[in-house]
């Protein structure tokens, strides 16, 4: 199921072609939209919000055709803009309910919904305050609240953690994840912070130069071929590396106490007593713990190697 789809879309600004012949399906759920500056993400968002009449090609969002039904599209989608923004001279409740009324909600419903959404976004206690007095984190939340007030089935989030400190980021990401999982809201998150995408989205679309260069489930994209494992030690240890090499493990990369090891292909056959899933995965623990014991190093964690989304992204751009 896709929530929006574009077919052979071309967008021009005057003489400049921003996107040419782009076909893409935005799947349901939480989707991350990645790409360097100038990759066409902005144009894609604008197009999906019905702002742009494509020069050629067609597309639809939530079953509404692009170009013709821009207003009806915007009634059913929400946008959390990147810039710090609010409507001046109002407290939070009137701002959010006004946003709801602009989407066509009757005023009584809009007011009711505004309270509900503000509560959900963690602004319950601050909802009668003027938005001008809000901190950065609260301003970010109210931007989310105004995007959700009319119950959109698709929400675009443009850099949702902009300017937030670690705690604020955690909370914002938790909100985004919560609203996009099991609440019937589909989200498209555009961000330069790849871990944000990793934490909120299930799928990702990577763009470059106006074209989609990679897309798919994040978990699948991050899988690494072969038996590799990431190990973290308490402290960087040369002895551990040496002992690994002795055992025939390939040391693929070392960053401080984090080591990526490659196991030789046919590895320790799994023990007989396994019950469920991790059956086929080689018994890393046995090898790693013995190595650590020999080298006197302390293993603080290990897991089958996954590429970071950053690696996936940089690779897709090449």
């Amino acid at each position: 199921m896709s929530i929006a789809s574009l077919h052979n879309l071309t967008v021009r600004y005057g003489r400049r072609t921003a996107v040419s012949d782009l076909s893409v399906e935005i799947p349901e759920g939480a989707v991350g939209l990645l790409g360097p500056n100038g990759a066409g993400k902005t144009t894609l968002l604008k197009t999906l919000m019905g702002f742009i009449r494509p020069a050629s090609g067609s597309g639809e969002v939530l079953g509404l055709r692009l170009g013709r039904e821009g207003l009806r599209i915007r009634q059913r989608v929400g946008l959390m803009p990147e810039l710090d923004c609010h409507i001046p001279g109002m407290n939070a409740v009137s701002f959010v309910s006004f946003a709801g009324e602009l989407c066509g909600m009757p005023s009584a419903q809009a007011l009711r919904r505004a309270h509900e959404v503000l509560e959900y976004c963690g602004l319950g206690e601050a909802r009668y305050r003027d938005v001008e007095t809000y901190s950065q984190g609260m301003r970010q939340r109210i931007k989310l609240a105004q995007a959700l007030v009319h119950g959109p089935s698709l929400v675009f989030l443009d850099e949702p953690t902009n300017g937030l400190d670690p705690e604020g980021r955690d909370q914002m990401l938790a909100l985004v994840r919560d609203v996009s999982h099991g609440k019937g809201v589909n989200v498209v998150v555009s961000s330069h912070l790849l871990p944000d995408i990793e934490r909120t989205c299930d799928r990702v679309i990577v763009m470059k130069g106006g074209a989609v260069v990679a897309e798919g489930e994040i978990a699948a994209l991050r899988e690494v071929a072969g038996s590799q494992v990431d190990v973290e030690l308490r402290e960087p240890s040369e002895g551990f590396l040496a002992a690994c090499r002795v055992r025939g493990l390939a040391v693929l990369s070392v960053t401080g106490p984090r080591i990526r090891l490659g196991f030789p292909e046919p590895l320790a056959v799994p023990q007989a007593r396994e019950v469920s899933t991790p059956a086929s995965s080689p018994d890393f623990a046995r090898v790693l713990f013995s190595v650590a014991r020999e080298a006197g190093a302390q293993v603080r964690g290990f897991h089958p190697a996954r590429r970071s989304l950053e690696d996936v992204f940089l690779e897709a751009l090449e």
Binding site: L34, G35, P36, N37, G38, S135, Q136, G137, G163, L164, D165, P166, E167, G168, R169, D170, H192, L193, L194, P195, E232, R234, E235, T255, G256, P257, P270, Q271, R273, E274, V275, S276, T277, P278, A279, S281, D283, F284, A285, R286, F289, S290, A292, R293, Q298, V299, R300, G301, F302, H303, P304, E310, F313, L314, L317
Partner: protein
């Protein structure tokens, strides 16, 4: 290279920084803290824009406040975005280099070099008003680097850069630090900090909460209950065995993921050292294990919540 000795700064009755003493060595040091913790005040004290209300601040052995000698050896990349929008990037950097005392050929070379370092040569002759957020960030960086300072203060330098740009700029910062400069970076993006440096300064509510090597700090807070997640095909048996350890206080199976076991320990240090023996001798099959509390983000959260 930077030294604060019981430095405080008050704005009237509002606290900016309260009795902070620390030494920032050469290399990269990350300045961390929630919004409003006093990071900007710290930066401004060190860059000589503010005078400490009490205590002492020294940069390269001198007081930085309104001190031209320090300014010439210090580069500052502010967080706020203020430019002369009509200038080109090159003109802007040139202007600031001229203020820093460069003339003639040396000026042109310094400007060229710094623009090249930040990867802005292709766009150097366009109006700043037409720059993207990332380009503006790079130009700010270029003006901080143009006089080849020994001390660099970078306030949220990666804001607005795309992932490629972030990678390039972190590499640049790292190479600057390797050449012996003292770089103080403030950032909210902790995983990025973690990839750049282990040396941190954590400020919270105006006080210095922690300073020094990340691993050392983490070791010290190992004393609080610590979660460790393991995946095994026999999580029940493994959990039973782990509960036998004196310092393990709880073991929980995940109701959604049948292979996942989460234990809590009061003494991570002994947990990590006994785990290998327990796994090897017990013949358990562990496919992965790690602690969700084992990164800078968790350390940051723990420390700021404690105070």
């Amino acid at each position: 290279m930077i030294l604060l000795d019981h430095a405080s700064r008050w704005y009237g009755q509002v606290m900016g920084l309260n009795d902070v003493s620390c030494v920032v060595p050469a290399g990269i040091t990350a300045l961390l803290g929630p919004n409003g913790a006093g990071k900007s005040t710290f930066m401004k004290l060190v860059s000589g824009q503010l005078r400490p209300t009490t205590g002492k601040v020294a940069v390269l052995g001198e007081r930085p406040f309104a001190n031209g000698r320090v300014f010439r050896r210090l580069g500052y990349c502010p967080e706020v975005d203020s430019f002369y929008e009509e200038m080109t990037g090159r003109e802007f950097v040139t202007l600031l280099a001229t203020l820093g005392g460069f003339r003639g050929d040396a000026l042109r070379q310094a400007v060229q070099h710094s623009l090249e370092q930040v990867g802005m040569l292709p766009n150097a002759d366009r109006r700043i008003g037409g720059y993207s957020k990332g380009m503006r960030q790079r130009i700010k960086m270029a003006q901080a680097l143009v006089h080849d300072p020994e001390v660099l203060l970078l306030d949220e330098p990666f804001n607005g850069l795309d992932p490629v740009g972030r990678r390039e700029m972190t590499d640049l910062v790292r190479s600057l630090a390797e050449s012996g400069k003292c770089v103080l970076v403030s950032s909210h993006i902790l995983y990025e900090v973690e990839h750049m440096t282990r040396s941190i300064l954590l400020i919270h509510r105006g006080r210095l909460l922690a300073q020094g090597d990340l691993y050392h700090i983490r070791g010290l807070i190992d004393r609080h209950p610590h979660r460790i997640a393991l995946r095994s095909n026999t999580p029940r048996e493994l959990g039973r065995a782990l509960l036998g350890l004196e310092h393990v206080v709880s073991a929980r199976l995940d109701d959604r993921d049948p292979c996942r076991l989460e234990v809590q320990t009061r003494d991570p240090e002994s947990f990590y050292s006994t785990l290998p023996a327990l796994v090897l001798d017990g013949g358990f099959h562990v496919t992965e294990f790690e602690s969700p509390d084992n990164n800078l983000e968790a350390v940051f959260r723990y420390l700021t919540e404690q105070s």
